[in-house]
Point group: C2
Amino acid sequence: MSANQKKPLILITNDDGVEAKGLKALIEAVRPLGKVLVVAPAEPQSGMSHAITVKVPLRISKITHEKNLTIYKCYGTPVDCVKMAFNHLLKEKPDILLSGINHGSNASTSVFYSGTMGAALEGCINDIPSIGYSLLNLDHDADFTAAKYYADIITRKVLKNGLPKTICLNVNIPDMEQAKIAGIKICRQNKGYWREEFDKRIDPAGKHYYWLTGYFHNTEPEATDTDEWALSNQYVSIVPLHTDLTCRDTMKTLNSWNFE
Amino acid sequence: MSANQKKPLILITNDDGVEAKGLKALIEAVRPLGKVLVVAPAEPQSGMSHAITVKVPLRISKITHEKNLTIYKCYGTPVDCVKMAFNHLLKEKPDILLSGINHGSNASTSVFYSGTMGAALEGCINDIPSIGYSLLNLDHDADFTAAKYYADIITRKVLKNGLPKTICLNVNIPDMEQAKIAGIKICRQNKGYWREEFDKRIDPAGKHYYWLTGYFHNTEPEATDTDEWALSNQYVSIVPLHTDLTCRDTMKTLNSWNFE
């Protein structure tokens, strides 16, 4: 980088909260690439999807201020953090938004429940090149070595090439040593759904309560061009996502219905 | 309907909570069409998107049981309600899932923040024909007369014709007398984003807090095939949504990058 070039402004958030090892891993991976602003949830926000806080006010406080690294914690959702950064903290748009590294997969339809991907999608709605990173390991002390390696490669590539308007990337990294990873695959989102099994219990007052548990059901296990396939075959998966949910084929079908 | 035909099973939820006028309007509109099971949030859940509850357990209780109408309230998000119905309360799949009628618009990119549409998208991930209904009036005492009329028409059409696999409908109804509504338009999702303006205040302890406020910025005001256009021109808008977020054009672009 020449002295004349301005360092890119990198906005980072996550859904596991400001204390998460995955967030620290992402900061370490990309700190050499630019000026880093972190706005992360004060508390874990897994499963918060694209939720915003409307019933209670938000609070935010600066917890770190070093050369090229400022960290805020925000008492809100991942999307609240992004909105706080875009509309309150920053005078200019960031060059890139990174979310993660999530502890656990966000492949296939998990993208809908994920706070990590909610933040990345919020970035792309606002036309900021955005990437969500997830490692296939839920453990709070997971090993992020390989994930950091790929976060560096992919972030540098997007900083250099940009992304088309209102596109973000859903990057998932298999849980294995870097040397065993087969490389990067560009994929489509696998089809499937979560089959929930509610764990029913009785509280000390004799009332029922339920824990949400479940497993992912892959409805196209034979497909070889999806993120689930890539991850099962030791690849890092990248799915480019857009925010236009319209199904144009179904528009034609509906136009043939006589509603009145 | 002949005596041999089984009444369709209609699952209803919303995000404004079990006490909302819009929920009652939807129940009234479609109760003549089948057997109705309502599983609605015990408390308002606006802005909860596709969030699920993972940090605390869920509770659910039956509050109404009449002929062809059973109502549960669930202490969780709209998507929790749908998961409870699919995986815990029901032995068989419902014939249709209806969400709403929401107090306020869910057109354009508001679909990402909406708990109403989170529930409808959860239905379509599970391959149940699903419809989210929203009226363009935020008032708790809004007039749902026209919205009920269109909810009846559109629900009957979908019960008769079905929907393609993993498709749901985002239906928005303008806030006006039924006689003034120009009809139904099949649309694509408008592009745009919310520009937030945080309302900064000071609490009694002298600390800052922020209320999230904002307005929708339409980035394609000239378009005439979108839901925003339809609603501005007195039409009920129907946007068919799918749950595959993959942008296939960008897959080609990314495949031309040399990542290693």
